[in-house]
């Protein structure tokens, strides 16, 4: 009896990795998935915070994909290790703060460590040549294979025919002729393959699976680093950049205001860590104050909160403010005029 070989797949929750797993399963390989949580992942939580985004039931797409494919999925916390990738990328950033090439290299390297520990034979990804401008180019895909330490143990089933032969192909663990030659940004070949496999429901995140590719998110992160004079960050920092209206009236403080009920619920989980305010006399959002505000800054924050409440046209709005020690004070303010909130304050 021949030995069944084992592969680990980098599973994001999107269609491409789902197809790559299926292609390799069809070759008789035992596949398990790994999914890395960097803190910047779109999948898994906050994409469903806003009500407008809740068109589908809330789910973790990587786990959902694993269930459809009948594979185990191991979710790995790389938040701390990822800081060095984001802060010091050897190959720089893409259009925003996305260090795609260093990121892919890092993840494949983590997969190399994983297969060595677990006794697996090779690694697969759902990469398609030419699909991403940094990490999935003909000249950069071999860089990932080499610098991650994976070398010829890294197989990309969706474009393997366009790349040098890997060990699984050379050794006959899988048949190279059953791999694919997808290239470019068109999604048509993937959709056709999905149809062939009978996949009708799959995630197609428009901006990829990482907030760092998002211009608005990257601007908020840059603002945070500039205001603090330090490029370090904690998980809570990067989570909070995913939600709310961010307004920075001055270098020493920033306001985060929920835009609807879901965001207010999310922000309420941070009430013990930040000075927070809510309106009492009218319905309104929750506001967190980040930084080191002075008394006059808090008065301005209250006026801005009043502007975003249902008391925006009232002469007076009553606000309750609670500090990190749990001490609550009340204040009555006049909502600030919208034209008094300069566009440049909006991060």
């Amino acid at each position: 009896m021949t030995q069944q070989h084992k592969a680990v797949a980098l599973v994001s929750g999107g269609l491409d990795s789902m197809l790559a797993v299926k292609v390799i399963q069809e070759q008789g390989i035992h596949v398990e998935g790994i999914n890395f949580f960097t803190g910047f992942c779109v999948e898994g939580h906050t994409h469903a915070i806003r009500k407008k985004d809740r068109v589908k039931p809330k789910r973790n797409n990587a786990l959902w994909v694993a269930e459809q494919l009948g594979i185990k999925l191991h979710i790995i916390d790389v938040i701390e290790e990822y800081k060095d990738i984001l802060l010091n990328p050897k190959y720089g950033y893409g259009a925003n703060l996305n260090p795609c090439l260093d990121c892919k290299k890092f993840m494949v390297h983590k997969a190399v460590e994983w297969i060595q520990k677990k006794g697996f034979d090779f690694i697969i990804t759902g990469e398609v040549m030419g699909q991403r401008p940094m990490s999935q180019r003909k000249d950069t895909m071999p860089v990932v294979a080499k610098e991650s330490g994976a070398d010829d143990l890294l197989l990309r089933p969706l474009c393997a025919k366009l790349l040098p032969e890997t060990k699984p192909e050379r050794e006959g663990w899988i048949k190279r002729e059953n791999m694919y030659d997808f290239s470019g940004r068109s999604r048509k070949p993937q959709m056709a393959l999905a149809q062939k496999f009978g996949f009708t429901d799959y995630a197609q995140p428009a901006g990829g699976c990482c907030f760092l590719t998002d211009a608005s998110y990257s601007a908020k992160l840059t603002d945070l680093w500039k205001a603090r004079g330090d490029r370090n960050y904690e998980l809570d920092d990067v989570m909070l950049l995913k939600v709310g209206r961010h307004i920075r009236p001055a270098e020493n403080f920033k306001l985060i205001i929920g835009r609807e009920e879901g965001e207010n619920n999310f922000l309420s989980g941070y009430k013990k860590q930040f000075i927070n305010m809510h309106t009492v006399s009218h319905r309104g959002p929750l506001l967190l104050v980040d930084g080191t505000p002075e008394k006059k800054d808090l008065e301005l924050a209250a006026q801005i909160l009043a502007r975003y409440s249902q008391g925006r046209d009232a002469d007076e709005v009553t606000i309750e403010m609670t500090d990190q020690g749990g001490v609550t004070t009340s204040m009555v303010v006049k909502p600030i005029a919208m034209e008094s909130i300069p566009e440049k304050w909006h991060v």
Binding site: F37, C41, G44, H45, T46, A48, P57, K58, R59, N60, L63, W64, A66, E67, G70, I71, K72, L73, H74, I75, I76, D77, M239, G269
Partner: protein, 78 residues
């Protein structure tokens, strides 16, 4: 059969899933892990993770703002 507790309160998904996964890695088949969470997403994600790994959900209890997920470790850990 031993019973274990995991406090995942204040963590947002997927962190409660990751903590549960890491806790279960060291447990033998038949042991029970009780996970207390505050992110409502855990009510979907922890059971989904358990299904793909062959662990059983014995009960999910909602207590005010907390969610308690009780898991029995499956034969993958035998």
């Amino acid at each position: 059969m031993a019973k274990h507790n995991l406090d995942a309160r204040g963590l947002l998904c997927p962190m409660p899933v990751i903590r549960a996964q890491n806790a279960i890695a060291d447990l033998p088949q038949g042991d029970v892990l009780e996970v207390v969470c505050t992110d409502p997403g855990a009510a979907h994600d922890i059971p989904a993770w358990c299904r793909v790994h062959g662990h059983s959900i014995l009960e999910i209890k909602q207590k005010k703002d907390e969610l308690v997920v009780i898991i029995e470790v499956g034969e993958a850990n035998a």
